[in-house]
Symmetry: C2
Subunit: 224 residues, 2 copies
């Protein structure tokens, strides 16, 4: 076996990326068991790096471990969506507040740049090519990361990152329905305005509301 590295410096890193992407793409559904045999076939490597990748994914909440019964994709639920949203409102709200208070001109530049890149892709829609949608997701993540990047607290930042990717799973579940009554681009624009105007409380409120609206839009999926 033994094939070349794609991006990271270890096979375990590659496995992490591959499995995470496969989960994001829906190849494995929430609750599905993740058998080592399948994952080894997917990643084309031995069990050891796969195991390490799953350990990392479990730490971030993507997968869960049941002793001697292996790993499975973490289930999605309305309760967790609400929980993650509330915790995000707390942590990222504070992080953006601190960012606005502490951020310098470099931070402003990063924020404006990230926003511009995201805004260039018109609107997330179902009929978009997958590649463009993936591209938007990446820029969206970069934008939100930029927003909080000047908070000055690495610990808080790490928490925000993890919460973001955890919420991301819910967002990807529903590319379709957000199209309607909501002005996501406007919300993002307003966040930038408030940040540049150095309105810390306002930006924090706007971000909390932004997440609240996103969660509300997703709740429909669990009305089954």
């Amino acid at each position: 076996m033994q094939q070349k590295r794609t991006g990271s410096r270890t096979l375990a890193g590659d496995a992490y990326e591959a499995i995470r992407q496969a989960i994001g793409a829906g190849d494995f559904k929430p609750g599905d068991r993740l058998r080592f045999a399948d994952l080894q076939a997917l990643c084309d490597m031995s069990v050891t790096p796969v195991r390490e990748a799953l350990a990392r994914l479990t730490a971030e909440g993507f997968t869960v471990l049941d002793d001697h019964r292996g790993y499975s994709v973490a289930p999605l639920s309305l309760a967790e969506l609400r929980d993650v949203t509330a915790t995000r409102q707390l942590c990222e709200g504070e992080a953006v507040r601190l960012s606005v208070l502490n951020g310098d001109a470099d931070w402003e530049a990063r924020l404006v740049a990230a926003h511009h890149l995201m805004a260039r892709i018109p609107q997330v829609r179902d009929d978009m090519p997958t590649a463009m949608r993936e591209d938007w997701e990446a820029r969206h993540a970069t934008f939100h990361a930029a927003l909080v990047s000047a908070c000055g607290s690495p610990v808080l930042l790490e928490i925000c990152e993890k919460l973001f990717s955890r919420a991301d799973r819910y967002r990807r579940l529903s590319v379709s329905l957000s199209g309607g009554a909501r002005d996501v681009a406007g919300e993002h624009r307003r966040l930038v305005e408030l940040a540049l105007a150095r309105d810390a409380e306002g930006a924090a409120s706007a971000l909390r509301e932004h997440y609240g609206l996103t969660a509300a839009a997703l709740e429909g999926f669990f009305a089954v």
Copy 2:
């Protein structure tokens, strides 16, 4: 090789416990490299479970991974102490607030019981036998866990747990100096009083102050 399990259901779990304890006990100092050979000797097992244990410890911030250069004990610093403290004040403050708002009689009972167990051990002092100090640490952790346990947000709770053990490393660094001017037991008692009186904001403030004082007492260690 292949020895019996101590508590968990897998060797990896045992390794996790053993290494975590060894770090807590100071057998490995912050910044020390953790060589697999040493850890295998310590745990008396092969490399695979040790590797999994380190992956988990890294996820919780006890250790850090440098690709192809292995793991080492996460360094301690004044900056991180302050960062962790501030983040704890944010997250645990909110968690205790929610706990007071949502907690039922069972929660009150858990809290009172945990406090009682902790209060029975008089005071943490240098001349205490190690076993008793370890015992107090465990009860202290249980007490703080009980305090936030009714917040209703598993995600927030998990964050609090991780932050607690991360801060724990700093506390264990200094069993000695807290003895002086501070009334830790009184602070704990006051927390229980406020919680039982259903003063959510008061309890949150008291907890934030409690952590602030703890951090302040520890800052001396980094004045080197």
